[in-house]
Symmetry: C2
Amino acid sequence: MLRLLLVAALTAFAPTAHAADARQMEENKKVVVEFYELAINQKNFEAASKLLGSRYIQHNPNAADGPEGLKAFIAFLREKFPDNHSDIKRIFADGDYVILHVHNVGTPGTRGNAIVDIFRLENGKVIEHWDVRQEIPEQAANSNTMFQAFFRAFPRKRESRVGSLRELTPT
Amino acid sequence: MLRLLLVAALTAFAPTAHAADARQMEENKKVVVEFYELAINQKNFEAASKLLGSRYIQHNPNAADGPEGLKAFIAFLREKFPDNHSDIKRIFADGDYVILHVHNVGTPGTRGNAIVDIFRLENGKVIEHWDVRQEIPEQAANSNTMFQAFFRAFPRKRESRVGSLRELTPT
């Protein structure tokens, strides 16, 4: 009986941990979506900085380290690209990380950039950021665009987890 | 009693689904690491194509759609960048997606590119690919590099999930 109880306890433990992880990851996604909207679209450092943790480690080579670097970057956006807008196309979470696939348009009417942002969180706050940015070219060797998902063109093919935040614009 | 059983059944269901998802996501990570190594580093289309599903939807604007597009891209690498090598720095999984953060060097001795690849899988096979690529600049506004993780410089700070495939080079 003791062995049975032990097996039951061990079996129960891992799924509970998974469920807790899953809840934290969904929460982290919401924090990052809000942080991104406040920082990049609203360009409001004061509001965005409330979602930063004890530090903000910056890996974007064009931005200085720390919260002060973010402040300066947002000031740069306000001055040089006041209409800069980023649409989050996809969002993923794994452990302490949240990953965004983004279509950024610095100047309205231009094709803009494809960006992937990687954020690391600690206690539900943003503490580290990496990104990669590529200009969307005029010509492409395929007709799939840098963002479009297969199941948009073929609506019968759906994600296995419809309703998650993963695909923000699934139709 | 029936209500109790029902509550127990409902409570048990979600964690079991999470555990199954988690196993599939770890398996998907291994498939993508192998696919990447075979396609990009070994440049072996025949071997890599065994890990493709019923289709291969390409969003990289420089590559043609489908398995034939991958074949042509690998042939291009073999001819123009025979020493091209990509190091996977981070790997994430969420649902059907696997995301790689990669340091790519096309020609040895050059700084190379930061890349994020996003793969979608179906039944454990690769069926879709998006990526974003950025040249690593000579100068940067911070000293964190485009890849380095905070806990490397401060070894006491560790990931909350050490031992996962998430950080492939954590030290």
